[in-house]
Symmetry: C2
Subunit: 299 residues, 2 copies
Amino acid sequence: MLDYKLLEALASVVEEGGFERAAQALHITQSAVSQRIKLLENQTGQVLLVRSYPPRATEPGVRLLKHYRQVASLEADLEDALLPRGPGVYRSLKVGLNADSLTTWFPGAVQSFLLSRDILLDLCTDDQDVTHRLLQDGEVMGCITSRERSLQGCRVQALGSMRYRMLASPAYMERWLPSGPEGLGDLQAPVLIFNRKDRLQDYFFTSVTGHTIRHPVHYIPSASSFLQFILLGLGCGMVPDLQSDRYLGSGALVEVVPNRPMDVPLYWHCWDIGSALLRDFTEVLVLEAGKRLPCIVGQ
Amino acid sequence: MLDYKLLEALASVVEEGGFERAAQALHITQSAVSQRIKLLENQTGQVLLVRSYPPRATEPGVRLLKHYRQVASLEADLEDALLPRGPGVYRSLKVGLNADSLTTWFPGAVQSFLLSRDILLDLCTDDQDVTHRLLQDGEVMGCITSRERSLQGCRVQALGSMRYRMLASPAYMERWLPSGPEGLGDLQAPVLIFNRKDRLQDYFFTSVTGHTIRHPVHYIPSASSFLQFILLGLGCGMVPDLQSDRYLGSGALVEVVPNRPMDVPLYWHCWDIGSALLRDFTEVLVLEAGKRLPCIVGQ
């Protein structure tokens, strides 16, 4: 059998982003951390860690870490079954998700689960290519993305759709689109885009006008600031209904093209390793997302 | 002189994150983009681009790009002076900043400047080590961080302080700290942390209790979701007054330790290249930040 103390040291250096922090987390000295990793490298005959800043796992290191995290997760399940956890003993769940889910429906959906179960979340938001890679490498246990196809060794479940609309302030509409959406094809005003991976605005314009349009662009990589920029009249952009409802109701924001929503389906992908924690979290997530998100069209 | 058309192709591939998108942005074919970069590599005798996904500049590539962006910025100033821009001709300003500034005071501070000057923002949020490196490499023209010392070739100006408080919901206080802040040293409840670079919570606990404390931690990398998690009773965490004022007023949130704010100073760093656009943006930023942020103590 592998010596899991050594793998724990490797995992800690990668997760905490350094030897010093790993030593603190494990309550051992920094040189003990180094020795454990060197020993593991000798035993496996592979370089497992690039000593960069922050340190990162090599390809064989990634494979070992994925295995380690899955074993750790199953072991924690076993402990739960054999010996109920006392208060103040937490388990951590590392999840990747899109920024719009994190800003809107996700906190409410997981609230009671977190309050009743002593679970800690370790969240990372990135585009779906990145979170799928993290899932594949075993760095996150699950992720929420719009990709339907499951990854090898993972399960996938539909959560529902997020409905987006292209929104602007009345001042923006008056200045830039006084004659309404016909002006869209020749719009000289800024459009907001989250970051260079965000194609939602392009999809919308293409679906409305039938061709690709080049607009001036503000890149605003924060979901709440994105909304603020629209409210301030600085651009138009695609906003989830979950975030905009009260502004549409009050007239502070209007749809650039009336009644033209776009639905983005969301799926939950997670390891298929029979972990009780993952099974319970999946159940809660699917149930609570179902209360907050419309069904995916066609399902 | 350098052939700046070739540098433009290099910059575009790096900024757009690929050859195809660069070709679209420059209105040329993908093979023309490739040829320009190969030609530039032949002329300089250096490999300038790592053909990874996404492509990134090598060290000599980074140096060339920094020079290119500074020349492009000065050239745009010159154009402004010689030939006033018509409507719909925009200039782009790439800026790094901390997530809390982007979510609170920044949009309002730049609103009129953006509306009156046809400026597009290209924002990136990351920790200050990263944004300072981006500034040094010439990838952003300026950044907002809490570091006071200026970088080589850059100017620095104080903007003001963001005032933070450790906040929790009344339900959280009742469950976890029923006898008030004395219980902090032995707190078994989750604390929220933005990401692993965020030490603000640690600083606060150390300043209050006199020693380092290990708490259970949720990592929530979104400023607005961070606040939502606190409102839902899922943890306590440091929140800027600019974001929390109305919740403190209504009693939805309370200070974990009464009247114990922590001030984080903010500075604007930018290239020192005599660009009129940067000079004007700096002036607006310093003025508008001054209206929204308290002065830095000691200045």
